[in-house]
Symmetry: C2
Subunit: 264 residues, 2 copies
Amino acid sequence: MNIERREFFKKSALMGLGLASAPNVVAGASDLNHEDRVEKNRPEILFFDVNETLLDLTVMKKSVGKALGNKTELLPLWFTTMLQYSLVSTVGRQYSDFGVIGASALQMVAANNGISLSEEDAKEAISPILSLPAHPEVKQSLERLIKDGYRLVSFTNSSNKGVETQFKNAGLIDYFEERLSVEDIGKFKPHADAYDWAARKMGVSSNDCLLVAAHGWDIAGALWANWRAAFISRPGAQLYPIAPTPEINESNLELITDKLIALK
Amino acid sequence: MNIERREFFKKSALMGLGLASAPNVVAGASDLNHEDRVEKNRPEILFFDVNETLLDLTVMKKSVGKALGNKTELLPLWFTTMLQYSLVSTVGRQYSDFGVIGASALQMVAANNGISLSEEDAKEAISPILSLPAHPEVKQSLERLIKDGYRLVSFTNSSNKGVETQFKNAGLIDYFEERLSVEDIGKFKPHADAYDWAARKMGVSSNDCLLVAAHGWDIAGALWANWRAAFISRPGAQLYPIAPTPEINESNLELITDKLIALK
């Protein structure tokens, strides 16, 4: 571990303990923060989150919006409720399929808007999650990373069967040497145990892992678990203001790929 | 433990393991479920959640809505994001004051709606959370329960200082023999450890505790931790469809009080 890296992890640890000042901006670190935390050596494995990070969720707006009486503005509330309840399950020492939790969340949001939705209708409304297209820059970026010698692994809250179907439908199945699902550990990201498990599963140390994700909570969880991280600031995605900032923060995977390839 | 109770907990456990069918309705159990799970003996202690359960959050709509460019419809998204990130912290083995997490969540929701909000402005916008009024039926109901011999304890995700201020401002400070905050254990509800800790702190078994709450996630967490529960189905509150159903489910605290007083 070089000095810059050691400083980076020291800072992260201090911030976690509330002993160092947290960044007070929402998206992106200040130039100084970025400078401080830059990681110049290559991580051993790149882990990719799936939903929103690689796959474009916007096509779900239609079906989910329809189930919510065409209130497409409720899509973020549904997705956030799904994420909240995935963690409700985890901290309650329970586990359900991410799709089942998503359908439950949709039923709750619908009921709060005066719409009674059966479990079956809710599942039908979110079924397009299995056939989302990849964001336009994804395939070319993954190809460039592989050509450049990187090892790629997917790491998702979707079930094993779910992510396999998603990748088949999006044409992404061959880009990853391994598909990891939290289903195998029974705790949703960003539980620290999930990152620990993924690193151990791939036989590498936590600080040799770098997560690429378009969710502030995933980036925060990875950094707290001593991983490195690259944030894709897609529309609707924000870093968690009181978490450490990742070393890379770009608006799409192509720009992140440029930065990763520049690492020695 | 009588037979009905034993059956109730057996059922809950089976459901948690996914071995029994889950209820497939959103709010409220079917009559059959209610009948099956009725608890006729008295719990030793009633634990009350605070925000929304006892205190009326709707007065925050104005200040939070203003911070979000008068989009008051974003209030549920902000509150859900705050709850999500409280659990993001917990599963990441971190702890921040609930108010700090609430301000961060507000910054994120604002940024996603094109509004740049400073940490200070976000904290200012949610500061009315400290001076919320009690829901109209709360004081009389708490008085009836105390007169009837019940022991009342508050149990909140707010900080110790926060809930003290809230109760002073709402005139609720004298109704509870103890104010418990998750701050003391450093894990937000509905983490199973938080309910275990609260029961131990009060010197009672989990199944002698009954939680009164207006949040589906809190009810689910309590039941999963082998507590009993009464759900206040306030507007905007839904039970978690795939969790066990509580023995009491009423639209306000007065009706719940009637049911509690009827227990022998």
